[in-house]
């Protein structure tokens, strides 16, 4: 038995929770599905379990985001990860729509392959390279929350530790030193691997970064696989429940 870390307790009621009885709608989160995605079902499940959220899938060939309040780009192997992980997916009609959505301030969360897609689409700074071990890693890691002032981490507290699994081969975060300095000075490093938990050789232990405006966020760990203490941790739920605060 793993003792649950991070001390997850449900957040205080977000504005949209239970809103239906007052005639207000919940926030709708769209989960993008590419050929080769594999974590969209878990992401959708996490969204549907979160207070104040409902979810639906967004097909990569569509480009309609009407009624969508936030977008999740899930994990997997979009378009077979041909050429480079995430390189082809960014040209899909849906990713063009997501780019426009992000430019208007819409919250976009990229998980694992989704993070790679957002970096390739240049919606996020940096790139993901092969793990230094050249091996697939699949394990629970501790993450330290460094910025709670984002639509994705509002339910967390500064410096809080989250226990969330990683599972990837191409997760080594890279950016040139000067860019890393800029990211740190602008609080764009949202999550870091806790000391001794860096699974892939990411520079400065970076696990997740946001764009300068703070509305696009990508991380290699999988919060959608950490939503029930039955499977070790429910800490990932905090990232989804944060989205309930996004103004619809």
């Amino acid at each position: 038995m793993t003792e649950k870390r991070g001390g997850y307790t449900p957040p205080s009621t977000p504005p949209h929770a239970g809103a239906s009885s007052y005639g207000r709608r919940k926030n709708t989160v769209g989960v993008v599905v590419f050929p080769g995605s594999c974590d969209e079902a878990d992401a959708l499940n996490a969204v549907r379990r979160a207070q104040g959220l409902e979810g639906r899938t967004l097909w990569h060939g569509d480009h309609d985001l009407s009624g969508i309040d936030a977008v999740v780009v899930p994990g997997g192997f979009s378009y077979g990860d041909y050429l480079r992980a995430g390189a082809i997916a960014r040209f899909s009609p849906m990713m063009e729509a997501v780019g426009a959505f992000a430019a208007e301030g819409g919250p976009v969360l990229g998980i694992c392959n989704g993070f790679q897609v957002l970096c390739e689409a240049r919606l996020l700074p940096g790139a993901l390279l092969a793990n230094t071990s050249l091996r697939f890693v699949c394990r629970q890691v501790d993450l330290v929350v460094e910025n709670t002032d984002t639509p994705f981490t509002r339910s967390c507290t500064d410096g809080e530790t989250l226990s969330i699994p990683v599972k990837h081969t191409t997760g080594r975060y890279f950016a040139p030193d000067a860019l890393l300095d800029e990211l740190e000075s602008r609080d764009q490093v949202v999550l870091r691997y806790a000391s001794g938990h860096n699974p892939n050789g990411s520079l400065r232990d970076i696990a997740g970064v946001c764009n300068e405006a703070g509305n696009v966020f990508g991380l290699m760990p999988h919060p959608e696989h950490a939503i029930d203490s039955l499977t070790g941790s429910a800490d990932g739920m905090k990232l989804f429940e944060s989205l309930a605060w996004v103004a619809a």
Binding site: L83, R84, A87, F91, E120, G126, A127, L129, A130, N131, T132, S133, L134, R172, F174, A175, P176, G201
Partner: protein
């Protein structure tokens, strides 16, 4: 016109693939090898025309898709 593009990890970026190959070679008796780097070779054909113009077009392809300029450098070679 046939074009060959070499994409390689930028200098200074840790290249674990190159390191793994470098460590493997001495096991086969090739123990005088250093500085191994592993990249990618892309070949394509473009409609015949001005070679210099083709170079420019292919460089654009590299910047936008074939390479990630943040982590990779590329060389474009026009094959006859």
């Amino acid at each position: 016109m046939k074009i060959r593009i070499l994409v390689r990890p930028k200098e200074g970026i840790l290249d674990p693939q190159g390191q793994a190959v470098e460590r493997a070679l001495p096991a086969l008796g090739f123990d005088d090898v250093s500085n191994v780097h592993v990249g990618r070779l892309i070949e394509l054909e473009v409609a015949d025309g001005d070679a210099a113009a083709a170079q420019v077009r292919v460089a654009e392809m590299c910047e936008q898709l074939l390479a990630n300029p943040l982590i990779e450098s590329y060389e474009v070679e026009v094959l006859k």
